[in-house]
């Protein structure tokens, strides 16, 4: 029905190849790689494609983190004195071996990997971010979810003393998010402890946040204190705030608009004043890896 332009396909190919490329690299090599500030992709064909990593200053000054305020510049301004030590995380609920441990213990439990992912915000912009972290499935394997553990609920910290945004009813605090167990176990789903080869800045969700690259950015909860396996689909803070606008799945999907604005295209952060919008791709370009999770599902209904 619809002719597919090459410009619409390339991003998927880019991210797929890039991911493979990045996965093959160790952490040290990955950091050197960032020094160049872009990624070279050896394509099967003769041409190579460059996908620029977003500049560190944009990744760390342009944030949606309503606990610290609703303006993009609020998180960096209001989070600098936020205390992330000591920080304990509980993994409990429908599991055989619940865990309670500090972030430092958690960091030492698994090898830290670098993952360069595209982040697509529900507001219609995107960044390419080199995260440091480990796949969530490794942690979930440790606690052995029971057969009742069908969903994973993520609960962020509640601390209105330190988080001025939590003094107002902007969202249902503490911030809550959720994934289906197969989404949580997917190897692309990671828990993040750093970016750009450094510790995770406070404004980016320190000390521990989630990243699910094929979903809109708000699904990736920040400053997590509790990971709970549950048997019923959890209601996220955004679902509660506006159920017809923010669904449980919130997969990046150019064909399903936000009720109030289009999701067909996006602005690339750092592109400058004359950079054009680019088309948004299904599952943010990770369709080859994740589309099987949603087979036979009406993604318009389960948005």
């Amino acid at each position: 029905m619809k002719k597919v332009k090459s410009s619409e396909i390339t991003p998927e190919r880019i991210y797929k190849n890039r991911r493979k490329f990045v996965q093959n690299l160790g952490l040290a090599a990955g950091s050197m790689f960032i020094g160049q500030n872009f990624i070279n992709l050896a394509q099967a064909s003769s041409n190579s494609i460059e996908q620029e990593i977003t500049e560190y200053r944009y990744i760390t000054t342009y944030n949606n983190y309503y606990e610290f305020g609703t303006k993009k510049s609020d998180p960096v301004e209001n989070s600098q004195n936020f205390k992330t030590k000591p920080w304990n995380i509980t993994i409990d609920g429908e599991v055989e071996k619940p865990l309670k441990l500090s972030v430092d213990e958690l960091k030492n439990m698994f090898p830290i990997e670098e993952r360069i992912y595209k982040l697509r915000c529900v507001e219609g912009w995107s960044m390419v971010i080199p995260w440091l972290g480990f796949p969530l499935y490794k942690l979930l394997d440790k606690v052995s979810p029971t057969s009742k553990g069908k969903f994973v609920k993520f609960i962020s910290v509640l601390d209105p003393e330190q988080m001025p945004g939590q003094r107002y009813p902007i969202l249902d605090w503490p911030y809550k998010e959720g994934l289906r167990i197969d989404e949580a176990m997917h190897p692309l789903t990671i828990l993040v402890t750093g970016l750009y080869g450094k510790e995770l800045p406070n404004q980016n969700g320190s000390p521990l946040r989630l990243i699910v690259p094929w979903k809109y950015g708000f699904k990736s909860a920040k400053a997590i204190v509790n990971i709970k396996l549950v048997d019923k689909m959890p209601t996220s803070s955004w679902m509660k705030a506006s159920p017809n606008e923010y669904g449980f799945y919130s997969n990046v999907n150019p064909r399903v608009d936000h009720p109030r604005w289009s999701q067909a295209s996006e602005r690339v952060i750092g592109g400058g004043i004359i950079s054009p919008r680019i088309p948004t791709t299904m599952f943010n370009g990770y369709g080859d890896e994740v589309s099987h999770l949603y087979k036979n599902m009406d993604l318009k209904k389960y948005f």
């Binding site: 000054t61 342009y62 289009s262 602005r267 919008r277």
Partner: protein, 193 residues
């Protein structure tokens, strides 16, 4: 004297142009420069709507006619900034790619009311001259009451495009409600007299 004061106010009203030009040349527009420029002119349009609506309440409060002298100029600046705001969106954001723009106007309520507000500004700008006031007589006042509807559409546009009403849209909503409430009060008191 009054001529000079009008010229001074005129150049002060161009402040949004100076400030955004500075940011462009200083390269300090930040992560999303196009959005920043669009929002800059959108917000200044709202500010000028509020300023325009403040003139007759100020007249009543201060018992001075001086405010009304500037109302026409402020109103024309609303149209000026609204037009730049819209063309930033059409040209700089969407590069005159009409298909998604038309789609937005039809399907997205925040774009729809924003566009409608701009359309309604056209008759106000076109009938702003002294000549038109004389020509339209009583109807002139009726036509220019459209600014109340434009103000409501403007704030709805801002609320609907924001992920949350906290705090920018909420502040403008409160200001516009207060300014519109003045009208109800005045109209009541004037009918009593």
């Amino acid at each position: 004297m009054s001529k000079y004061s009008k010229i001074i106010v005129f150049f002060i009203c161009l402040w949004p142009i100076y400030s955004i030009s500075y940011s462009i040349f200083d390269n300090s527009l930040g992560a999303e420069p196009v959005k920043k420029i669009t929002h800059h002119f959108g917000e200044w349009t709202l500010i000028f709507i509020c300023l325009t609506l403040s003139m007759s309440p100020l007249k009543k409060i201060t018992n001075s006619n001086i405010w009304i002298k500037y109302r026409r100029m402020l109103g024309l600046f609303v149209f000026f900034y609204a037009t730049i705001h819209m063309f930033t969106y059409i040209g700089l954001d969407y590069w005159f790619d009409w298909k998604p723009i038309i789609n937005d106007v039809i399907k997205k309520k925040y774009i729809f009311v924003g566009f409608l507000a701009w359309l309604l500004l056209i008759p106000l700008a076109a009938t702003s001259s002294q000549k038109m006031i004389k020509l339209l007589k009583k109807n002139w006042k009726r036509v220019h009451r459209l600014i109340y509807i434009i103000a409501i559409f403007g704030i709805l546009h801002y609320i609907w495009l924001s992920k949350t009403i906290f705090f920018g849209p909420l502040i403008y909503l409160i200001i516009i409600i207060i300014l519109l409430l003045f009208r109800i009060k005045f109209n009541k008191s004037s009918t009593k007299v």
